[in-house]
Symmetry: D2
Subunit: 485 residues, 4 copies
């Protein structure tokens, strides 16, 4: 696939796998709309006032059917949008096609190379001569990283003509980033300066990206305000937990058809994602072993009847391994070598460094047998025993299945919409400094309330007297900031 | 696709979708073998003595990866095999290709028409001039039905030249059966006579087929001995229950990506299949309502915290409907009209008459929108509200996903292998009359024991003293025949 | 407590702990009646026709509140009743008092010695000069055993004056039985002859008693017809399973207040009782390990995510041990010595020989510290480490708590009522031979249906057309005899 | 029981129900110690340095076996202790006796009147002429309230001789508080002044008390530093959740023996306590309906498959009602009148105003039938239909059972010990102002880690490289403050 930007008849740029899948994508988008009441309510509530009028939004977030509904909510509210995916395997090509045809500039396809991935990210940021973006929707923080690295390079270049040196790192992905920036510098040495000046803020979707933002806030390098969407209760306690409870077994089943019942499954990490994964595996009839570094999370696992051990304790008897840590070097090739024949190894965390794919790929004599896309059997030469790695160690629920279902993504994405509206509305008020913010609790509660009716729930109303008794307003928010749900 | 039998280079007949998928099928078969210890043990135990030497086996059973391992177990034990699927949507084309290329005559593809389906069944029974089959593996009883109907027709024809009259029934499928038999009569009016004389017996896989066999036994029309594999404990209490617990959500997810959590799900029927479905939906976070005719099963559902209501009570508020009854006319078009927009309607029972597909298809003004194969949205003209029907009302776990996982099918299919061996071994002994038999308990226990080691289980051994105390042999069987598990 | 029979003002015999608890017992009986719709329906349906008019019923079954409702159902239907408990710890003294005062001759108290236990059993069988009983309600078969042993002894005595020799056995309980019979022979050497001639039949409540009955049927020694109530579906699949799921944690909590979450619990045996226990412990947050001899039950445990090991594998790391086998010598004193300090050991099976209490009691230097009645800490001299034994190794749910709750016992006891009516109605018809019978399925279904309304359930009705399609009557029974539920 | 303080032979004051139960209490305390590794580790770690040397601690917290282990941990660390219970029904008399005899001044018994309750609280605060307390352990804040109200009254009295007027409120409990303070003023008008000056701080156990503290902090009336123990993760996410999951069914079973399976249970409130209750009821086989005011908690309930409705929607069909809100007026007498006969109504929240007991007690013609202590049937005159109220609307798990089990209380109470040590250590440093504090996360993690070993858990250790990658210290704390677990 040559990396040439294409253009729709209406003049919108795009690069997707197969435009003929647009109709299929549209049908699934229509189904998803029914399952995404938060986003549809946002269209109804905010659409008439066009709050995003004039706003140019760049998004880097899995280009799925659910994201399509998010994008079309942003455009319904007046925004102009360019989009890329934040993972090389997570794009649903029919979703990308429908959006590219109908709504926004999309640069994404399932199975990008890393080179292609960063090319897409650059395109999503490239608003042409009129400039942009005004706002960023990020997931994992790659676009935010690109802008920060770009600006850093431009400053150095400005100072003394230094160009970024890809060979200065052995991180394959950063080599590409530096190359892109270096090549860009030759064309427009002020590109990221202009971008920085214009950007009103970013809303970040996930734990990993949020961690980067807090690091930048801590060292003072953050270039614009950021809203931490991940830590809205209606995001992290729903999407991360219930989303993974749904999509982990979905990914396992689509990739391997393996029976979960009776198996020993190891879940590395017992945060929200790990809790969702462990719950799904336990309910499916597996015996679940958790690995944890945090004694509190470990004690939670024990209270749920799960065993807490180290990876070394179970590596040779378990059948399924899932990493959920957000950390790196969780399952190394030396661990994989000890596993049972056809043990399944996968990662549901954001980045692909939880599993030592590099170690596996470079293991002398190892043989890779691709059963089907995203399902590989790797055979070690010593014992001719193989393990099955899903989605090349990347996000298995998006690589092997379709990610989280629409309903729970509606919670997450309604937070995104609200965050974007908030940033744009306050763009000149100075309300938001170059810091990381969480949405106020009453908006978090609002997101939840938009999703109750569809499930037939009826809320109880506080009387004034009761509200006073517990010192909250009748209409909420109902909990102190530190409440853990 | 023209209905022409093709021939491999080795001369074996077949008709499959795409022979180029054989390599992919072979890879998945190899994975499945690791998950099917019962079948692999059978190969190890019985292979050397070639118990099926000389036996010609016709099978009519979902042509999946798991069935491929069954077929190759039969051939490894010396049998010659011809195979068709017992459902128009359940074939996995790569499995069919691998078997056709490597092991047996296969006539099956995903998405057969009914016409094609019965053509395939006829082909599987057609052993050419040398005659056959000797044994039948049946699932749902269609091949057994064809033989019984065929013989009936031949007798009438013999008597007075009467030919079967397809117009005598308004059952679309029986019209095809009569047509096939009628056309066959012209070629060979003794075909089914010869078959009946030769057939040693049938082993039947599922509840629905077993029900037919007991009806034939009751009215004295059964033509050969039958082993009811379905009612082996290691079949019905495993495959039906744990298999469906796995494959129902798998089918729902692959077809619709719908979030199960928070939904109201109606499970019609609370037998083994219904129990598995209800468990899966409850564990996925749905609120499950059960419909039942049997007060005992209803009381079981209540004890599990499920609500027991009639369909009419919940038809307009539920989100997901699953039929598991083995009966007919469970969800009628008049029910479907009352459902919420995008309610999901599916059947996991063997035949497609649980859901009134005929009523739906012929509803005036109804519109069918195919989202993707096996996932259709049907829109009623009155309110423009749609429902989503999976696999055209047929077995949704095989139509929309890949059916039950290998491990649990290993239990079921090891019973099949044992049943076939038993029938063939006793072919001349008179041990089996024209009746329906269940495998003896010690064989049932053996099937279970073949599956324990792989899951790391260790059995406790009875002492002689303990065995005497509870009046069982030390080596089993351990339970009376009426024990319910 | 001197073993003297007392007499109410109305002249009814009894021996209970404390007659002043009768009012309390009556209040709890009234609560229980609301929870026992099957028994109350039986009173409404059969009361007017007084089917037990003239019948004298002896019952040996835990003298609890629930049994009180059973007894008063029998008397409401016209029977005269004498009752004893079938376990030395299971009597609820307030229930015994209320019944003794108001309805039937009761000989039972919590904490009988074995000597007292058999004295009570004898009293329950002693209908005085006018003779009796006509019918037996048995649980575990002790009264049935007494009659069979009694008759055997009378025959020997008649033949050559041989008296039973208590010293011929080292089973402490049989020594008492022989002594009682021997002493009785001196008074009335035809007592059991007369009893046998009169008794119409027995209905047996539990697995253990049923096992004995089948053994007697097999060796031809059964003296009268027996109805196996245990194997009614509405008994064994409800009382054994859901009853234990309720009463096991109840007993653990009342006896020890121990936190179940986080513990390793070993359930010996995975039959219906074991399934209920394992489910309760798993739900409470324990990690459950199952021991099994039967590969089928073991595979079921695995499918539910439970580990299957031998006792030896986990004896030194588990926290809670429950025996549910109906077998003997499951946990020996040599096992107990290896346990962690304060490991809890208990039995929920019928007899107290699952746990080696004799070995424990006679262990040199062992020290028993009674925390409270039925909760003992036994300290081994070697390591000063103790284990906690509940209810002296007897039925812990009745010894330490109040047994199964009313609702599920209503299912079991409605089967008892129906069985007793059936035996009495057919007393002269010859319908029942000296064999063991199970109630017909339509009565089983009836028992279930009597319990649905109270839980708000609505059954679906079969159409004639549907009933024909699955070959069952519209009004049931709906399943073949071999159906396992 | 005359309200006279008694004195042990060693001269320690006390007032308990029955000193003869001390031995029994001691045995159960010894069992509990094995289950409370956090407290026992604290004794081992801090005992040698006697950190509480010279400290006088007043505690107002359920006088149970678990609290006994807490008290003896405080004394083992050098403190002198006086104690009362914080609920009229929660004292375990054998625990009170053992502590009174062996370790601390106890004023508590099960079934205090409100008058007696406040007398006990006063006694616990009364350190005699030498003055005290230095530290407060509070649960619900009653002792803290007494001191604050006392000081307020002393100031008014000082100003113009005004005495508190019990008739100024219609809250029965506040009338008693005012009376006590009024009477005390006559004896020592500076009592609470002296107390305030001396008190170093309070550590508060529960949500309700914490709410009061934050209100006082907000309006500037808080007299001394407070540590909010409730919001330690190892308290509120364990004790509130897993403690209630254990003790709710325990209380239901001991009070009513009702079968939970099949019932409709309403849980009012879905906070941590409600989550634990709902989980227990669901696992027990009930169908659970949740009532909520907070849309986020409501959505959590839905994701777990629970129905969310208002009380009015289900009041007439549910069987069991549990209030967990911490609010008031949740179930009113007008609701109770609509309930089914023998519906069970109980409260597991801290105060008894969740259920309208006053309305029930004063309902014209209502009849109260005490089945047994803490289990009352209330019969309405109109329809002769009754409801069953547990523990007179107070904490049912402590009133009807024994509260939370030792293991989870070990987590809570280790936080208490750490909080008390912290307050005492920093008594002169000025570290703590008159505000509400939460323990730092590393201490929270420490509490958890003290409980892992006993459950056989093994933690994974972060490498330095991994710790840096996620920006945490190798030894923790591992999560940001806002993390919700």
């Amino acid at each position: 696939m040559a990396l040439l930007v294409e253009t729709t008849t209406s003049g919108r740029e795009y690069k997707v796998k197969d435009m003929s899948q647009a109709d299929f994508g549209r049908l699934e988008i229509e189904l998803a709309e029914v399952e995404m009441p938060g986003l549809m309510s946002s269209r109804a509530e905010f659409g008439p006032s066009q709050p995003f009028k004039g706003a140019k939004i760049t998004g880097s977030l899995h280009m799925t059917i659910q994201t399509a509904v998010l994008i079309e909510t942003l455009t319904a509210l007046g925004a102009e949008v360019r989009w890329c995916s934040c993972n090389i395997f997570s794009t649903q090509d029919h979703a990308a096609a429908a959006i590219a045809r109908d709504s926004a500039a999309v640069f994404a396809w399932k199975g990008e190379t890393l080179q292609e991935y960063w090319w897409c990210s650059e395109r999503a940021l490239d608003w042409g001569p009129s400039g942009g973006p005004d706002l960023i929707v990020d997931d994992g923080g790659d676009v935010t990283l690109l802008i920060h690295e770009g600006l850093k390079a431009e400053k150095l270049f400005e100072k003394d003509g230094t160009l970024p040196d890809p060979s200065s790192t052995d991180n394959a992905e950063m080599q590409i980033v530096y190359t892109i920036i270096r090549d860009g510098l030759k064309t427009d040495p002020k590109r990221y300066h202009k971008m920085k000046d214009r950007i009103v803020g970013v809303s970040e979707e996930t734990t990993t990206g949020v961690k980067r933002l807090y690091q930048m806030q801590a060292n003072g390098s953050l270039l614009f305000p950021a809203i931490n969407v991940n830590d809205s209760v209606t995001k992290s306690k729903f999407d991360n937990l219930y989303g993974c409870r749904h999509s982990l077994p979905d990914g396992l089943m689509r990739a391997t058809d393996v029976m979960i019942a009776g198996k020993i499954a190891v879940v590395c990490g017992y945060g929200d994602v790990g809790k969702g994964c462990a719950a799904a595996l336990k309910q499916g009839g597996a015996r679940v072993v958790v690995t944890e570094i945090d004694p509190i999370c470990a004690l939670q696992a024990l209270m749920e009847g799960l065993q807490v051990l180290t990876l070394a304790d179970v590596v040779s008897e378990a059948d399924i391994f899932v990493t959920t840590t957000g950390n790196k070097d969780i399952i190394m090739v030396s661990d994989m070598k000890k596993m049972k024949n056809n043990a399944i190894v996968c990662n549901i965390g954001h980045f692909d460094n939880e599993i030592d794919m590099h170690g596996l790929e470079t293991y002398p004599g190892v043989k890779r047998i691709t059963i089907k896309p995203q399902t590989d059997r790797w055979v070690f030469p010593e014992n001719n025993s193989g393990i099955i790695v899903l989605a090349e160690g990347r996000l298995m629920n998006l690589g092997c299945a379709t990610g989280h279902p629409s309903f729970v993504m509606s919670c997450s994405f309604t937070n995104q919409v609200i965050a974007q509206i908030e940033l744009w509305k306050e763009k000149t008020s100075g309300k938001y400094e170059k810091k990381v913010y969480v949405l106020p609790k009453h908006l978090d509660e609002k997101v939840a309330s938009l999703h109750l009716n569809q499930l037939g729930a009826k809320l109880t109303k506080l009387s004034k007297d009761q509200a006073d008794y517990i010192s909250v307003p009748v209409e909420g928010p109902y909990k102190p900031a530190h409440y853990r749900y």
